[in-house]
Amino acid sequence: MNRLFTSPNLTGWLLASPLALVLAAFLVLPILMIVVVSFWTATEFSIVPAFSFENYDFLFGSPVTYSVFLNTFKYAAITWAVTLVLGFAVAYFLAFHVRSQTWQTALFLLCTIPFWTSNIIRMISWIPFLGRNGIANSTLISWGVIDEPVEWLLFSDFSVILAFVHLYTLFMVVPIFNTMMRIDRSLLEAANDAGASGFQTLVSVILPLTKPGIMIGSIFVITLVMGDFITVRFMSGSQAANVGRLISNDIALLQYPSAAATAVVLLATVLITIGLMLRLVDIRKEL
């Protein structure tokens, strides 16, 4: 008995079990439930336990599904590209141009200030800014840049992506900044001594060494954008759809099984995307 308790095997299991139990109860079980419900059927008032491919049939048979998924990928790809460039630039500036640690911390905290208010507020505050009679348009008119208000500023793909970039760039900045700070400065000096230009150092030394940070940031941004529905609804004026809105529409109409099926397909899509990204960079090895 005594030997059993002191065995390293058991200690290992005991140490791992709280987390395993929490994950099983609050992550694995709900996802399994969603998968199960996605095979059920629904009438107008109730959901009926069954094993039916009806929801998937309808999902894959409808051209709307494909255009909506395409649209979701479009938002994710553009947002990813823009946040990557911005995030990398900001992190590079903080890590290599700001010399004093105090300033680094201060400027980093500055980046997080917008996060002190809620997501929704930050998003909605764009609406009066970009509107037909909003600040952006009236400023441009008073400068004489345009004669008539620009319509595509609000309730368009532009405004959706703008809001996404605004909301999620910090998720790119933080992990990239973090990995950049761990880069051994002597490597940069070595590159300099070996006669590399600033740009060559950036491309051949810094970029490869920041890959894990870039990858973690990318996973954040892509999963957040692909799972979003409220930003698309508000910023497109309900005129554009992504997968999240498809799911929320179904839920509003009490079509839970159909919503579950869409959620399962979305989950699979996101997992495949992340799987492919992890193929490119082995985060564990490089951390």
């Binding site: 107008e44 008032f45 037909r132 319509e151 497109s236 004026g237 554009a240 498809l246 509003a252 109409l253």
Partner: protein, 421 residues
């Protein structure tokens, strides 16, 4: 009332109750136990008002607990959880879905004091003897059942009502007269290229499709058999016309919630859109001109009522009847009418409104002075006239009632395609 429990509060309550009894000789229950009764009411936010619950406590003594939900959740709850409520405050089109489940019980009209004064729309379907009955789920078609325990609908006034009507109104398009600058007379204007990028429609499928149908019919593109119960072909053609307009950039945005519609209109993003009457009021209260434009093709109308759960019996059922009689006795009607809705028994509400309010809201007369809502906010000044005029002008011009179609699921899918297009 127990003698040894007198306090100032119970005395006042007793006095109020006696005054009520004198004014409305309805069957009243004089029992201490009624104070222990709690009636659970749920419904959409529009008439689930806390002021009503407070007033019930004051006037009738028992407790009314309110739950406000959106119309989809209301439908589901009424259909699937009859034990979770005593009183359902639902719209007539929801009644069409829910009544056949047998979760509500028929109401004996002989116990309804003011039954004879309920407006014709809810009884014969006709506002005046000459009126024609509008399309869609007209309230009287789902207002009566064959008897206690009935789950069917009957056409005539059978003495057994499914819902007691409480609140209704006629909806139309809202416009910004200052930004349009010319008279608007027809539903077709919603798709007029003149308002390209400045129009909006609501993204709630069951109501949005009706507004879309009003437009297509006015354009002469589609002749509907019944706009409230379209065929698949009619749905396809309606959505095709609107999808084309959407792709051409006609719409600035779609709205789903009340405040979205207010902001779109107030900011000038949109100059013509589907709108609800209180949203117009909200825009106006910011000092921005906004008109609930009467159109020649008529209004799209809606109505709600309260139904009793099949599980109500005994004293609780008596209390529920008392509540209904109180509801129709005028105070609630006045409260609702001063916000621009109509009450089922307008003549009892008159006693709870000033002559100027009655003239403005019901008779369509120019306001004699400032018109305020029950919360004291100013809605109109002296000389203003209500958009659309009097009760008879507005409710007499209803073209279609909110409804639920036989092809509801198909319509919802088509609507989703339209939004995603």
């Amino acid at each position: 009332m127990k003698k040894n429990h007198y306090s100032r509060r119970t005395l006042l309550k007793g006095a109020a109750a006696s005054a009520m009894a004198a004014a409305f000789p309805a069957p009243m229950i004089w029992a201490q136990e009624i104070k222990d009764i709690t009636l659970r009411q749920f419904g959409t936010g529009v008439s689930n008002l806390n002021e009503v619950a407070q007033k019930v406590k004051e006037d009738l003594g028992f407790t009314l607990s309110m739950t406000a939900l959106d119309s989809d959740a209301v439908t589901q709850r009424a259909a699937t959880q009859p034990d979770s409520f005593d009183i359902a405050d639902i719209e007539y089109w929801i009644c069409k879905k829910v009544w056949p489940t047998g979760n509500l019980q028929a109401m004996d009209t002989s116990k309804i004091t003011n039954y004879d004064k309920i407006v014709g729309i809810f009884r014969s379907g006709k506002l005046t003897p000459e009126s024609t009955i509008a399309q869609g789920t007209a309230p009287h078609t789902v207002g009566f059942t064959s008897g206690p325990g009935g789950t069917d609908f009957v056409a005539e006034e059978s003495g057994w009502m499914t819902l007691i009507p409480t609140i209704y109104n006629a909806d139309t398009l809202g416009i910004r007269p200052d930004l349009i600058g010319r008279p608007i007379e027809s539903w077709t204007e919603l798709l007029n290229p003149e308002f390209k990028g400045k129009a909006s429609i609501l993204d709630i499928s069951s109501i949005g499709i009706m507004d879309a149908a009003m437009v297509c019919e006015a354009m002469g593109e589609i002749a509907y058999g019944d706009k409230g119960n379209m065929t698949r072909d009619e749905i396809d053609r309606t959505m095709a016309i609107f999808t084309e307009a959407k792709k051409a950039g006609q719409f600035r945005a779609f709205w789903k919630t009340f405040d979205e519609s207010v902001n779109l209109m107030a900011s000038g993003e949109v100059v013509i859109q589907s709108m609800w009457s209180p949203a117009i009021t909200a825009v106006k209260s910011r000092g921005i001109p906004c008109v609930y434009q009467p159109l020649k093709e008529g209004y799209r109308s809606w109505g709600g009522g309260i139904g009793l759960s099949k599980n109500l019996s005994g004293l609780a059922l008596d209390a529920a009847y008392e509540y209904i009689n109180w509801y129709l006795s005028g105070w609630v009607g006045g409260f609702l009418m001063r916000q621009g809705y109509y009450s089922a028994v307008p003549e009892t509400s008159k006693a709870f409104m000033s002559a100027a309010e009655w003239g403005y809201w019901f008779e369509g007369k120019p306001a004699a002075g400032d018109i305020t809502n029950p919360y004291g906010e100013k809605l109109a000044g002296a000389g203003d006239v209500r958009d659309g005029g009097s009760f008879n002008d507005r409710m007499g011009a209803v073209a279609c009632w909110n409804s639920v179609m036989d092809e509801n699921q198909y319509m919802v899918r088509k609507w989703n395609e339209f939004i995603a297009a």
